[in-house]
Symmetry: none
Subunit: 209 residues, 4 copies
DNA sequence: CATGAATGAGAGTTCATTCAT
DNA sequence: TATGAATGAACTCTCATTCAT
């Protein structure tokens, strides 16, 4: 069983929070089942019956904890989003300059994607199933990237004035690398990939140096 | 009515090609309707009835030309894929070095995404609806990027040895920029974005130059 | 409402057995409705909507108990098959030799066919709708006939060595007589028919005796 | 291509008779295709498109010759019925008494069934698809049997007074034997089966002789 | 006569959601 | 809180038949 961090908090305001220990267990079982189901089959091929039977609870119990299949999906996206961040954030602080930190962060992300392929899929499918949740995730991700870059800029580590577009570009890079080397294939050493891309990010591809 | 380039050719081998002029018109109407429908509502919220009524033909006529809703979607993805390429390819040849060409290509892509938001959505949703078509599209896109980069490397325009990962990174950048500045919002001058990112790609972000 | 003997048992292994009393009632209603519907209109002109509306339940409830229209039909054939046997079997034991028993069995069968015309139709249509169920029914019927005949042969009641073909011949006779005098018309005294045929079976038609 | 005897005549009064040689060829192609299709797949799984494409003619041409799928089926049943009779009838006249003739007839029928399995299936499925055609076929078949038997009775070859029920009984025997040893399996020498059953018919099964 | 595109009623099936127990 | 039967709208797909060319 996968620990679903902070889900109780996440649910405040939406859906229905459990009041007993038994309820807490049922909720957790449903969330784990949903994560597996959505990860494997995608939102539309997943069904509430299948999720409840995976979870070992009755169909009706689903609606004790969630308003709808959609709302479960949204709750899941929020949670996954937090998990990614929790995994990557600590790696960003540490010795060295911003680019070194950024390399550690990317590597951590690639490893995380490889070990949690469902999370990747769920978050990405949100673009079509729960656009708001998708935007919330990628919007704050860009914000964080930009915060780091602007701090580096202030410290003089970066020579070009940082623009929002830099954030989206970097994020796009990371996401596609995660998809290609984390999720779709495991045919590559992730550390190598991280270094390669980090170098490009630092020095560019131009020959005139 | 949007011209659906080469769809007749695309359909060879799958689904059923029309043999009369009337049939050709019906097929085109269906393709245009489907493109609009899928673009607006996404695959799962689109329905065959809705597509046929948009197209002004009877429900049954759909199955005169397509084996299933899925197969129409796949045909559409293939076609959209070709359209993107046909729009961008010519921009890549022209004066200047590879990075200049790359900038023109990115700008063209961003403009195309802004003007053809449905295409963007359809291709991206394919990741979840028709993974093979998605892989075909992004796989060949990466190949083309790498071909260009390797040629530039051979000419000495690039100082680092090009690796497949560079291709995925660049593509990810472009895709997310297209999404952010082409599809989601029109709040930004695309030329500016293209320049900004192209500069980063050439020189990197590092201050040590 | 017709009692559907042993259907609960029959359903074990296929389709879904009800777990509550209410479910049991719904299942029974569906089976009764299906029997009437298939009997009247045949498999292909029967529809699931029509069956459920006859049964007074919602369309969706059908799929709570059956995997498909086909699987209901198969379940029904199995059940009908058992009903015929249950009706005829007791008549076969009793006073007198095998031919006397056989006469009682045929008469019972003819009467049963006349009173349960739907059963007749359903089992026979299975030849085209559910061939395996059809073969199961007629295969075991022949086996039983042959068992009885071989026993009679062992007791010396029969002068010719019994062969499988005798079983199929006798069964064919019975089936067509059931169709003609039980199902298609009621213009004949069944006892008379049974006697007539039984006599033929005992003595043959040849004059040289 | 199978010659479809007398179909032109059969069609008089129903459907539309061809007036040109070309039309005659198209009609024949359709009939042959339909016979194969119905024989293989049964009435309901056969489709008009499939029949026309087997026949190598356009879908629309079907309705140049037939009023409907049903009416084609009926025409086919009538034709098959005649074919069976044409095959069996000559065997019934010849040397020996009625029982000897009857044996030759049964053998001919079994062989015919084995060589023309589609015919068997089509005629039998008529019970559920075109009951009138079915009754016409089996009704006249019984009549013919009874005519032969009554003649034999008049000649003193038969010791029991012949009743209609004898006809149905004999026919049922023959039909099931045809199904079992002609259509379903070819594991048996047909001549042996015919002899066996003929003997039973002459002498009965009783031991007291 | 031949063609094949067009039609649309109708079928079987799915599944999120409700609710009585 | 848990259960699972009941519901019915919605959907995809089939196919006999019509008809303009």
């Amino acid at each position: 069983m996968v620990a679903v961090r902070g889900m109780d908090a996440t649910m405040t305001g939406e859906d229905k929070a459990p009041r007993t220990e038994r309820g807490r267990r049922t909720l957790r079982a449903l969330l784990d089942a949903a994560r597996a189901e959505f990860g494997e089959k995608g939102f539309h091929d997943s069904s509430v019956v299948s999720i409840t039977s995976r979870a070992g609870v009755a169909l009706g119990s689903f609606y004790t904890y969630f308003d709808s299949k959609d709302s479960l999906f949204r709750a899941l996206v929020q949670d996954m989003s937090m998990q990614v961040r929790d995994h990557v954030a600590p790696l960003l602080s540490g010795p060295g300059d911003m680019l070194a930190a950024e390399r550690r962060g990317l590597l951590g992300f690639l490893e995380f994607a490889r070990q949690n392929k469902e999370i990747y899929r769920i978050i990405d499918e949100a673009e079509f199933v729960a656009p708001d949740a998708w935007k919330a995730h990628y919007g704050t991700t860009v914000e964080r990237i930009l915060d780091r870059f602007r701090a580096a800029e202030a410290r003089g580590e970066i020579s070009v004035p940082i623009d929002e577009a830099h954030g989206w570009a970097i994020m796009g890079m990371n996401v596609f690398l995660g998809l290609r080397y984390g999720v779709l294939n495991e045919d590559r050493d992730l550390s190598e990939v991280a270094t390669l891309v980090n170098t490009m990010l630092r020095d560019g591809l131009g020959a005139d140096r």
